[in-house]
């Protein structure tokens, strides 16, 4: 059964149809790319999946349950972890504290247990610490744990975004343009890292503007153009697809 099902999702902004009747599915354990030229509707579809924008029509199901219209935090607790394209870290908090927020998001917490320091509260705090360290180790950020996020080198900040999402314990990790702003070496390192996460059993949806990263690591690629899905196939097939080439390179028009 598909882990994530997108069922005829449409999202309009006034007269603009940003996502137009898009369907698709991601099975457990897949590494899928979602690409498209600027303005294709990738980010809108992404926001519909994560609950930031409700769809105008259509339904999103996760693990068989509809999640359409749920608040982002509820969707996160169902098991969809996300990162942000333009890095939205908590700059005045340490790297450790940044990641701990994801862990708390998964486990939940109340004020009174922190106030009374009950046994349950201490157990949960230990659980949060353990999850946080685990996510830090996994992303190689453990040596930076004490730094403020604002003081972290740019390349590492991407990993902090991912670590925070991993700490929420996702079944599906959705990465929004993780390679933006990285040079070739850094992009290659990131590609290896995403592959490792996938090899460890995580289902990943990679939303990218840039074809190269996606074509290199994804098993399957969905292509959006002008809000519509124009292709959904393995990278080798998509690369030959005339519709895709047209969307990316433009049609030959008479000057």
């Amino acid at each position: 059964m598909a882990l994530l099902e997108i069922d005829r999702v449409t999202r309009r902004f006034g007269g603009l149809v940003a996502v137009d009747d898009v369907s698709g599915a991601i099975a457990e354990g897949e590494l899928v790319g979602l690409i498209g030229p600027n303005g294709a509707g990738k980010t809108t579809l992404f926001n519909v999946i994560c609950g930031f924008t409700p769809p105008s029509s259509g339904e999103v199901r996760f693990a068989g349950e509809p999640i359409t219209g749920l608040r982002p935090w509820r969707i996160c607790r169902r098991g969809i972890g996300r990162t942000f394209q333009n890095l939205r870290l908590f700059p005045n908090m340490t790297v450790f504290d940044n990641v701990s927020v994801g862990a708390v998001g998964r486990l939940g917490i109340g004020p009174f247990e922190s106030l009374l320091r009950t046994r349950a509260a201490r157990d949960r705090a230990a659980d949060v610490s353990a999850r946080t360290w685990q996510a830090l180790e996994r992303t190689g950020l453990a040596p930076y744990a004490h730094l403020l996020a604002a003081d972290l080198p740019y390349g590492r900040r991407k990993y902090l975004e991912i670590a925070r999402a991993l700490a929420t314990g996702p079944r599906l990790l959705v990465l929004d343009e993780p390679a933006a702003g990285l040079n070739e070496t850094e992009t290659a390192e990131l590609a290896r890292f995403i592959r490792t996460l996938h090899a460890e059993g995580l289902t990943i949806l990679l939303v990218e503007h840039d074809m190269s990263l996606v074509m290199g690591i994804c098993q399957r690629v969905m292509v959006l153009a002008s809000g519509r899905k124009i292709a959904d196939a393995p990278p080798s097939v998509v690369q030959q697809d005339p519709l895709v080439l047209e969307a990316y390179l433009g049609t030959e028009e008479v000057a």
């Binding site: 006034g14 908590f90 927020v101 994801g102 708390v104 998001g105 922190s114």
Partner: protein, 331 residues
């Protein structure tokens, strides 16, 4: 605040050094000054939780202080309740109002929230001022009995001081435990970026309401202590200027810092008193010191965030909204 040394030091100063020194001096004025400082410590600690930790700029905190004070005043003068009941009741009534106000306003972003709290704070002030049959309006309520919780007579300067100190220590413990825990981390995440916190699985609105409830509870208790120790409450004590004074304590001490809230409160209560010698210009001097603080210590004395950064984000966010509703182009 880790370890046992810091709590021990706080305990020793609050219940050893200070009361011993004050008793030795034997001055009612100094005792009163200590009481007022501690009451404002409770207020600044509670506002620190809302503004410094959770990042919600509130401009109406004095209103909750006022609700607490009037609850204590009315319960004790009309119904003859003693402080053992009026103090917790003041906290609860204030927290009730806090939650009622938080429910509709917590969805507002940044500067809109600040303006909403400003408006609601003034509404509460105007109500206290004009509901004459209930609050006696501008006359205020007098003859509020001193602190005699459950029949224990704590109306002596030392007894009053010790009760206030005990409640201030309790408030310190509450704010410390809420702020310095993983729960506190979630509140800081709201301050940094609440949309992102939402995406990380945090119920943003619920967390904000909880914070507001805890902080307004503490502000209500501070109000009850003020009412019982002053013996008289008047709407003018709970105006906008008082909210700004508490905000100034938090900002000068440093946003997000608990020692900052305490030092800020002590500074802004004790400094004007210490400067009495220079006469009328003392308030100017206090203003100047605050100004220089912000200029040269942008994070306050102990802060996690710069005050300017918080204000900039509060105001910046007001323009973040969608410009699609207005016609294109400018005339």
């Amino acid at each position: 605040m880790r370890g046992v040394l810091a709590p021990l030091a706080v305990f020793a100063v609050l219940f050893g050094v200070l009361p011993a020194g004050l008793s030795a001096a034997g001055s009612g004025y100094l005792f009163r000054l200590a009481d007022v400082t501690l009451i404002f410590c409770i207020l600044s600690l509670s506002m620190q939780l809302i503004t410094g930790v959770a990042g919600l700029l509130t401009l109406g905190h004095a209103a909750f202080y006022g609700i607490g004070a009037y609850t204590a005043a009315i319960l004790s003068t009309r119904l003859g309740f003693d402080a053992g009941l009026t103090i917790p009741a003041s906290g609860l009534v204030s927290a009730l109002f806090g939650v009622l106000i938080a429910l509709p306003t917590m969805r507002l972003v940044s500067i809109y929230f600040a303006v909403a709290t400003l408006g609601l704070g003034e509404m509460i002030y105007v109500t206290l001022l004009n509901w004459v049959s209930f609050t006696r309006g501008p006359l205020g309520i007098g003859d509020i009995p001193p602190l005699r919780p459950f029949g224990f007579d704590l109306s002596s300067p030392l007894g009053t001081y010790l009760l206030i100190a005990a409640l201030a220590a309790l408030a310190l413990l509450v704010v410390h435990r809420v702020a310095h825990s993983y729960y506190g981390n979630t509140l800081r995440a709201l301050r940094e970026d609440d949309q992102c916190a939402d995406a990380m699985g945090l119920p943003v609105v619920r967390l904000k309401i909880e914070t507001f409830a805890i902080a307004t509870f503490l502000a209500g208790i501070a109000g009850a202590l003020w009412a019982h120790t002053t013996g008289y409450v008047n709407p003018a004590d709970f105006r906008f200027a008082e909210s700004i004074l508490i905000l100034a304590m938090v900002v000068v001490g440093g946003l997000g810092s608990i020692p900052g809230a305490i030092v800020g409160a002590a500074l802004l209560i004790l400094l004007p008193e210490a400067l009495r010698a220079i006469g009328r210009v003392r308030i100017l001097a206090v203003g100047l010191i605050m100004f220089l603080c912000i200029l040269f210590l942008p994070k306050g004395l102990f802060g996690e965030v710069t005050a300017l950064d918080l204000v900039r984000r509060q105001f910046g966010a007001a323009w973040r909204g969608s410009p699609t509703d207005r016609p294109l182009g400018w005339r």
